[in-house]
């Protein structure tokens, strides 16, 4: 094999269906691996339990964004209408909180929505220009009808023969080594 100059990224195994993938993920977790991931064309129900993934912290990011939007909008309107540019409109009070509700709401939603999108990208490490897995032709199926597990070489317990054996025991249909592109 002409793999001398390439470093190993991990071992990729394909499974037949979502059930096998969930069971395989559970077996991988039980064997003590930490750096691994499963790949499927849609989010599989119950996979978070099989992989033991903790609750996503995204909600807190969104809460932060929403608070910034809410306080920012109120601050803007109170400052503009009360101090910077007070206008007497039909004798209404300059600082008139009920009338600020619609815009406060809209800006809360707007900033929270941006926080959601930025949050999901940064938590998932996206955008990403390339991924060693894209070098595997078979991996194209992951966005179509393929179900994959990849245990990465960076894992402390990683040993090529053991990982391969684990996948084979769990009924993998294809097992491939993945190399980092240089």
């Amino acid at each position: 094999m002409e793999t001398e100059n390439k470093s190993l990224h991990g071992i990729l195994a394909e499974f037949r269906n979502p059930k096998e993938l969930v069971d395989a993920a559970e077996a991988v977790k039980k064997s003590g691996y930490k750096s691994y991931d499963t790949y499927a064309p849609y989010p599989i129900h119950g996979m978070e339990k099989a992989m033991g993934i903790k609750e996503s912290p995204l909600g807190w990011i969104v809460l932060g964004g929403g608070l910034i939007g809410c306080i920012g909008a109120l601050w803007l309107m109170i400052w503009v209408m009360g101090y910077e540019y007070p206008m007497n409109i039909s004798g209404k009070p300059f600082i008139n909180i009920p009338i600020y509700v619609p815009i406060t709401f809209e800006l809360t939603v707007l900033v929270a929505a941006f926080a959601t999108v930025y949050g999901v990208f940064s938590l998932s490490g996206l955008p990403r220009l390339n991924n060693p897995l894209f070098g595997v032709d078979r991996f194209k199926k992951a966005t179509d009808d393929g179900f994959f597990v990849c245990i990465e070489a960076s894992d402390n317990l990683f040993a090529e023969d053991k990982v391969t054996q684990l996948f084979r025991d769990n009924g993998a249909t294809h097992i491939e080594t993945v190399y980092d592109s240089e």
């Binding site: 499963t38 129900h45 503009v80 409109i89 939603v109 929505a113 959601t116 894209f134 991996f139 179509d144």
Partner: protein, 477 residues
């Protein structure tokens, strides 16, 4: 024949027993195969209308809003009618993608991408009207709280400014929601396409998506949060649009029923528009298995409910006019019914109140041709509803001496027709280059997607293992 209810396996959402691969093939076929000749024809027509729109808007900017049929007192005419109509149409997309998602209505996956695209393009058409209506569009930035050379700031207590914030937030959030939903499907297209250029373009859009579960985990959370944000947002947008009218003191406008009534009307017309577009697209692109009759029936049910809510609102308007003892409100009511615009009122009554009553019949709800006709009529009716609201109250207010009949000018009409060019230009580009059905979401709804529908020992899929639900079954006694 009697009707009986009993437990039976839930009918599958996608007809025809497709595998994951077949679903992918069915949907990516359109963006990845050569352009059909009919598409060029439709796109050409849409482009002609778009040029008409650009001409009409260009002339408006050159000449001023005097080219429209506006007069004193009717300072709001077709432009505002069209604005409310288009933005209302947009609301169905968000209802389908966000509210039905929160209610766990799996059937929405067949149409959500499609309806969200409709929302975005409809809001673009809507936003155009108030922007060009300001007259001096080169200073449109005055509506935003940007420090300017005059040291002046917008008036935050004006409902018109609330509208600026509501519609621009709505457009932005809809676009974000739509794009987040598209990412996994763009990755599918990236992995499927043979063309080098398409691979790069879809690849940039997909942002390196791999389908990793650790990403899906955050992604699903993000999707739910965006749905949760979009749900109150969509209700707020048409509420605020209704404030443009309701916060004034004009008879016929100054009414607390406006916000819920506007929201119901928006969903009503939006569902009608989704149905119109869907019934054409499913035929053209042979997607009958996904956008199937069951989905059409459910949409018809939503339309029927909203139609009756709107009918109830009309009834309440009449009742309150009488019950309030306020003669100007009563005057507006009579002007609606027998006044100079009564023709519009009766078109509206026929299209919005009579038409949806046919949807009480299951055979009508499941009939493609009739549904198509009803959806068109509802859209016409909803346009007339906004026409009646905007025009009658303005042109015939407190002082009979200042009454004037409003009629649109040539430019009003072609600007409106032109917005269809804008809408369909974008919509056809969407149909051509992007997956019109959310591939990943449809797959998730297939019975074979759920690991619980597999045998624990053999790990083989078990047919008909879906949750039993109470369904209506016709039985011959």
């Amino acid at each position: 024949m009697s009707t009986d209810y009993q437990y039976a396996p839930e009918p599958t959402l996608v007809k025809g027993d497709h595998t994951f691969r077949e679903i992918t093939d069915l949907i990516v076929k359109t963006p990845l195969s050569p352009t059909p000749p009919l598409w060029y024809l439709a796109f050409g027509l849409a482009n002609i209308l778009l040029i008409v729109l650009l001409g009409a808007v260009g002339y408006l900017i050159w000449e001023g809003t005097g080219i429209w049929g506006l007069n004193n007192p009717a300072g709001w005419g077709w432009a505002i009618v069209n604005f409310v109509w288009w933005v209302g149409i947009g609301h169905a997309g968000t209802l389908i993608s966000a509210i039905l998602f929160l209610f766990r209505q799996g059937w929405r996956t067949a149409i959500n991408r499609f309806a969200e695209a409709m929302t975005i393009f409809a809001v673009m058409c809507a936003g155009l009207f108030p922007a060009i209506h300001v007259g001096r569009i080169w200073v449109i930035y005055w509506v935003f709280p940007i420090p300017n050379q005059m040291g002046a700031w917008p008036n935050f207590s004006s409902p018109l400014l609330w509208d600026v914030f509501a519609v621009s937030t709505y457009f932005t959030v809809s676009l974000l929601f739509w794009y987040v939903g598209l990412i996994p499907d763009l990755a599918t297209l990236r992995d499927r396409t043979k063309s080098k250029v398409a691979k790069i373009v879809y690849g940039i859009g997909a942002m390196g998506w791999t389908g990793s579960f650790r990403n899906w985990w955050h992604y699903e959370k993000a999707y739910m949060i965006l749905a949760g944000l979009a749900t109150p947002l969509v209700l707020s947008v048409h509420t605020i649009v209704s404030y443009d009218f309701a916060v004034s003191v004009i008879p016929g406008w100054h009414s607390t029923i406006f916000p819920p009534y506007f929201v119901a009307g928006a969903i009503y017309s939006g569902f009608a528009m989704v149905l119109t577009l869907m019934l054409i697209a499913r035929k053209m692109y042979s997607l009958e298995d996904i956008m199937n009759i069951d989905i059409m029936e459910r949409m018809n049910l939503v339309m029927m409910v909203c139609g009756n809510l709107v009918a109830f609102a009309y009834l309440m308007e009449g009742f309150i006019a009488w019950y309030s003892g306020y003669i100007y409100e009563q005057g507006i009511f009579w002007l609606y019914v027998v006044g100079p615009y009564a023709w519009g009122f009766w078109i509206l009554m026929f299209c919005n109140v009579i038409t949806p009553q046919f949807l009480w019949f299951k055979s009508v709800r499941r009939n493609v041709a009739l549904t198509f006709v009803i959806s068109i009529l509802v859209n016409i009716g909803m346009w007339f509803e906004r026409f009646m609201i905007a025009v009658v109250s303005l042109s015939t207010d407190f002082m009979p001496s200042s009454w004037a009949y409003y009629s649109p000018s040539f430019w009003d009409i072609i600007t409106y027709i032109g917005t269809f060019g804008l809408f369909f230009t974008f919509f056809l580009l969407f149909l051509r280059f992007l997956p019109m059905i959310a591939i990943a979401e449809v797959k998730k709804e297939l019975p074979q997607a759920d690991p619980h529908n597999y045998n624990d020992e053999t790990k083989e899929f078990i047919e008909g293992n879906t949750e039993p639900v109470l369904v209506q079954q016709e039985q011959t006694v």
